[in-house]
Symmetry: C2
């Protein structure tokens, strides 16, 4: 390399501000849900930036968008950096975009320095990490890891009525000249920078979180069905009210699950009564349950508890309960050698690190199936995310991008010395 | 009159079946919500039928549609019969349509018999009785009684985004040749046939219910607002979860209000979490409350109880509560003289009667402000309504229409003898 590559914090900050304009909300957040017009605009802008710097572009059937800075041997699998550009409906400016734009900054830093790497370094923007319009989340990285899009996903409908397959086609069509490559090209390793979305790093004032793994997640859609009836005339003993049953059930679960286990997370983010008339007892009530736990067995036990309680409350109200699994991501531990790569890189830049588990799932969870993977967490203000008030201090943005660059360089050095890293929780093998 | 007018049950049954085709649902019900395309089709069909029999048509600004069979003295205020043609989203074939089509059958029976009445007999189909798309319900009859459409109603938006004023204009345009008359033309009296929507008449096997009054109704929209947060990372003590608060509140109210007072009705028909992501603690939860009671003071106390409980649970969850009144209809008693008119008519046809209070509100509640009013109830199967399974035995349809015809004749006789009836709860005055 001609000189040591370095992050330019002001360039990265300007990029984050520019992307936050796409889907900007009046309260300073971003609404750029997956496969919407805003998401397409953000991809198109990223593609423009790539072309301006001479990086090669490709996309796959899941509309994952790859930027490639070529290395000395094009046949070697690349180091992949990445995250996502889609957001929650009332999301923030950093969740996802930080990882993509810091990754782009790493590619630019290499380019600015005229760095020659033995293998290519690539950046990916994964499709539909948030899963708001189409479940499950992290759809693009899952499709990448599986080598295909699950057929049932293609027919999925967003709450606004759009069909996933149609939205994918529209999104791919935004970049008509870009090569359409098969899903799941080989990679040497994957590194993702992301905001912590929790309060720990900020509280400890540590700029670089070394993520040891990701807690498991189960998404379940529960429907209680009773009988629609007139609100004014139907006496209590004639009612089979699924809303009365659902609220009793959810009040009980809110009162039990998290209070009895600080590691557990129980969230109901969506609820709807059908037909939804002010003056009719609903026929059915549907809600989602988001369950998380670092321990696989306890996560499974939580799901069982929710299902049993739902059936019990339904029966009590002469209703029925049905369940639709929306997602199941078991807990994951990242390979020790990848954690060391990050710690080595951060150490060279003089950045303190802290090991911690991720409360949120990420694309890295899926990519970890096919390559050594790890994540860097960046502190965010008050642990707030999935919220327009989400914020990251400029010094932490710069530190995160620097850690990503240095971890990338550390990985490339080891890889070029012939050191290989196993994909799951393994120690480094001698080269 | 040349011969005694008589209902033709097979003609009425065929009409009910024909109208049930408009907005028919796969499960045998009807989805013909107010001011939708289906509602417009039903009005257009009724207008066609009127023209075929030579009845005059007019509509008003609220899109109430009037059919007039002229009487001996066009200057006398008419006897008005009516009900509504709109339905719940998963409604039945009889709620509303029975009263309109039985009323039309009465006009036809008079016409078939060449009956000469001293004053005109009119039929009205009121706009938006159900209130599903636009609150409040019974909008057309309220506008008629008030002589104007409340300005705030005009800007109301349906859940599907449609604006009331636009929908009214589209609906009026369906019958371009029909006279647009001012709201609130004078009437001598109002009679409405409707299904009971409760279990009493069927249980007692009585074909004709004489409705003594209507219980009071309050509709309230409640919003609890907390803070959106990430489902996976946010510990319990960082959460301000409005859904946890709402379900606790509603579980408590469901467990208290109706069990402690058999005359009270408490129904939550609509609930929604915003932004509605599987993996985010909601920022807010909005639900409707439908409260009913025959006693005005106890109805007001119920509302107070709901508001206080909501504020208490919101505070407990570090959320806020806000309230939007959607409707308030105080309890009403119909004039004794009008009840006697129905009992006299039913007696002449040999039909047993039973006096009962209405658990549902009806257009008659509002029309009662400007003219002597009463209602006839028809038994419905299992008391089921606001449901696709709603049903009425053919013998009860025929009996209800016969009672409506005979009550109309009884009223016309008294009116032509110069007997007048006061509007509210008063006895008849000697003519």
């Amino acid at each position: 390399m001609s000189r040591r590559p370095a992050i330019r914090p002001e360039r990265l900050a300007a990029r984050l501000a520019r992307f936050a304009e796409i889907g900007a909300t009046p309260r300073g957040g971003v609404n750029r849900q997956a496969l919407t017009e805003g998401d397409r605009q953000a991809r198109a802008l990223l593609a423009d930036l790539a072309l301006a710097r001479g990086f090669a572009l490709r996309q796959d059937d899941a509309a994952n968008l790859f930027l490639r800075r070529e290395g000395g041997d094009p046949a070697l699998p690349p180091l992949l950096l990445g995250s996502h550009l889609d957001t929650q409906p009332t999301g923030g400016r950093f969740d996802g975009a930080l990882g993509v734009l810091a990754g782009f900054e790493v590619l630019e830093a290499l380019e600015d320095a005229g760095a020659r790497t033995g293998r290519a370094v690539e950046l990916v923007s994964w499709t539909n990490e948030e899963g708001c319009r189409f479940a499950p989340g992290a759809m693009g990285s899952q499709a990448f890891a599986q080598g295909q899009i699950a057929p049932e996903w293609r027919e999925a409908r967003a709450p606004d009525g759009a069909r996933l397959d149609d939205e994918l086609a529209l999104t791919l069509a935004v970049l008509p000249g870009v090569l359409l490559a098969p899903l799941g090209s080989p990679i040497a390793a994957y590194l993702e920078l992301h905001i912590e979305q929790g309060p720990i790093l900020e509280r400890e004032d540590v700029p670089v979180g070394v993520v040891t793994g990701i807690q498991g997640t189960i998404w379940l859609e529960v429907t209680l069905t009773g009988q629609a009836a007139h609100a004014g005339t139907t006496p209590l003993d004639f009612r089979r009210d699924p809303l009365a049953a659902a609220t009793r059930l959810l009040a009980a679960l809110h009162g039990e699950v998290m209070p009895s286990d600080p590691q557990a997370r129980f969230t109901v983010g969506r609820i709807e009564a059908s037909p939804g008339s002010v003056n009719a007892v609903p026929e059915s009530v549907t809600f989602t349950v988001d369950l998380r736990h670092p321990d696989a067995a306890r996560l499974a036990a939580l799901e069982q508890r929710v299902r049993e309680a739902a059936m019990r409350e339904a029966e009590r109200a002469r209703c029925t309960a049905s369940f639709r699994p929306l997602a199941h991501m078991p807990p994951l531990a990242f390979p020790e050698a990848m954690l060391e790569v990050i710690e080595t890189g951060a150490g060279r830049a003089g950045l303190p690190t802290l090991r911690l588990i991720s409360g949120a799932f990420h694309d890295a969870l899926h990519v970890a199936r096919c390559a050594p993977t790890a994540m860097i967490f960046c502190p965010c203000r008050d642990g707030i995310s999935h919220n327009e008030a989400e914020d990251v201090e400029p010094r932490f943005v710069a530190a995160g991008a620097t850690a990503l660059l240095e971890a990338s360089l550390a990985f490339l050095e080891r890889a070029e010395m012939g050191t290989s890293i196993e994909t799951r929780g393994a120690a480094m093998r001698a080269g």
